[in-house]
Symmetry: C2
Subunit: 263 residues, 2 copies
DNA sequence: AGTTTGGTTCGTCTATTACGAACAACAAAT
DNA sequence: ATTTGTTGTTCGTAATAGACGAACCAAACT
């Protein structure tokens, strides 16, 4: 086998096991043989990997076929509750959702991706039916308000690295797909203090975002409020929403600084 | 090293890597050396494991120390949304929370443990998931209403297996800690159709639970409603709440059967 | 019954991992 | 500034542990 890129030595066996996890995440459920062919390893080997993952309760064998264990949810919960921005941001975000009756998000960055830590929809009192949250939890940063707010808070070379590795794929006709254009946008976000997403991710949806910094000035992530373009307009889009958002972010930052001493 | 218990052959390297994950989950953040001593492996080896996990984005190196990656949250989300009971139960549970203004839970079982997939408190507005002061996401089954409802739906030998491996630890003075007593309790739950938790997990808290079965009759998990004993009393505790709960469970089961054909 | 598909087990060879020592980076202390 | 201590990273090497494939089962389907 070819060692893709040798920075640090990495454990092959573990890598394939983790690829098993990813594979199970993509294809909801897999048998031994199918997994083996998919990863191009022997059947016996695939079996061994699955057995190990099962033993450690990351995978479970439900009537002959393997799938990710619900126990993984435990890990996810832990990780989220560990997150500073989530800890201090949730209550503010709930409040924002109440006030604006739109979607509000808490997003954090990792390896150049935006991860949706929390999402809540304010009550629009539509017949008591509740919206489903989108399954996608890991997004490019350049076509969301929260993502752009984060990018605007990063140094230019870090942004370039991210573009380098993740690209600037197009989602709608409004998506910014050129590096130069993106940098101009980031500049104006910095001047403005908050970011816009004008139907750049989803047609018909606008959003406003702003970054949140930790005690040391490091970027913890961002908040965003999004809703249909029909609603996100005029003063609301230009002033009220951004104001509320910035305010919430400030409150969070203050709270974060208060607890700085504890850490 | 000693092979603990050789049923199927299991990959040692992978095992230790997964132990690294667990270790990071327990101790929020660890350095290479500390991890090495904790797992009793060499420093270089610990480093290799961390490097691999980092490469696969399950672990991240924040200023010199390693911690679980937020990306794990992605997996957790996926797993939950994959869950049949969650898919069909969430809206009903939200409604229950609204009606009863108490805590409502969706719990599922895995390897003899109860996993809290969703939890919402009525009165507070519907929408997000509310984690209260309960970081614990994996619980014994014998001292919760949801857990007992699940156990009551299992065959006796399966219950015995679970007791065998997980034990019957005491949480309060009301916790059932003897096997015989537990089996009697399960019997009366079966007759009654729903379970009670009378301050068996937490002093001052009562709960009512009921199992939910899938199209094939298999136990998918359970729902429960819990609240302070001062509130959970009289008719409410004996009739209203159980009725509502059972009703919600029935609705879910009907919905599940409707979608049976799709699968 | 016979055939096919997929799951599990096992012996063996070789590739990989774990080790330890050496090196580097950084802090604290003298 | 120099030393000492601590922790992270790299690398060569011996020996262990993983991957293979063949053989064995168990169902499902014909």
């Amino acid at each position: 086998m070819v060692d893709t890129d040798n920075k640090t030595r990495t454990l092959q066996t573990v890598s394939t096991s983790l690829e098993v996890l990813s594979e199970l995440k993509e294809n909801d459920t897999l048998g031994v043989t199918e997994l083996a062919t998919r990863l191009d390893i022997s059947k016996s080997s695939a079996h061994a990997h699955l057995a190990t993952l099962e033993d450690k309760e990351l995978v479970i064998n439900r009537n002959g076929t393997y799938e990710l264990a619900v126990n993984l949810f435990t890990f996810g919960q832990y990780v989220r509750e560990q997150n500073l921005l989530y800890q201090h941001g949730k209550s503010q975000v709930d409040k924002l959702a109440d006030e604006t009756s739109q979607y509000v998000h808490i997003v954090t960055e990792e390896n150049g991706w935006g991860i949706n830590l929390y999402q809540i929809k304010g009550e629009t009192r539509v017949g008591g039916d509740y919206q489903q949250n989108k399954p996608q939890r890991r997004d490019h940063l350049h076509y969301t308000a929260s993502g752009k707010a984060i990018l605007a808070a990063f140094p230019a070379d870090r942004v370039r690295e991210i573009i380098e590795s993740n690209g600037l794929p197009k989602r709608t006709s409004n998506t910014i797909t050129s590096e130069r254009e993106l940098f101009e946008e980031l500049e104006s976000i910095r001047e403005r203090g908050y970011s816009y997403n004008d139907e750049e991710e989803i047609e018909g949806f606008r959003a406003v975002g702003t970054a949140v910094r930790g005690p040391g000035g490091e970027v913890l992530g961002s908040l965003s409020i999004s809703g249909p373009t029909s609603f996100m307009q005029g003063d609301r889009y230009k002033e009220t929403i951004p104001e509320r958002l910035i305010n919430a972010a400030n409150v969070i930052e203050v709270n974060l600084n208060m607890n700085k001493s504890d850490r």
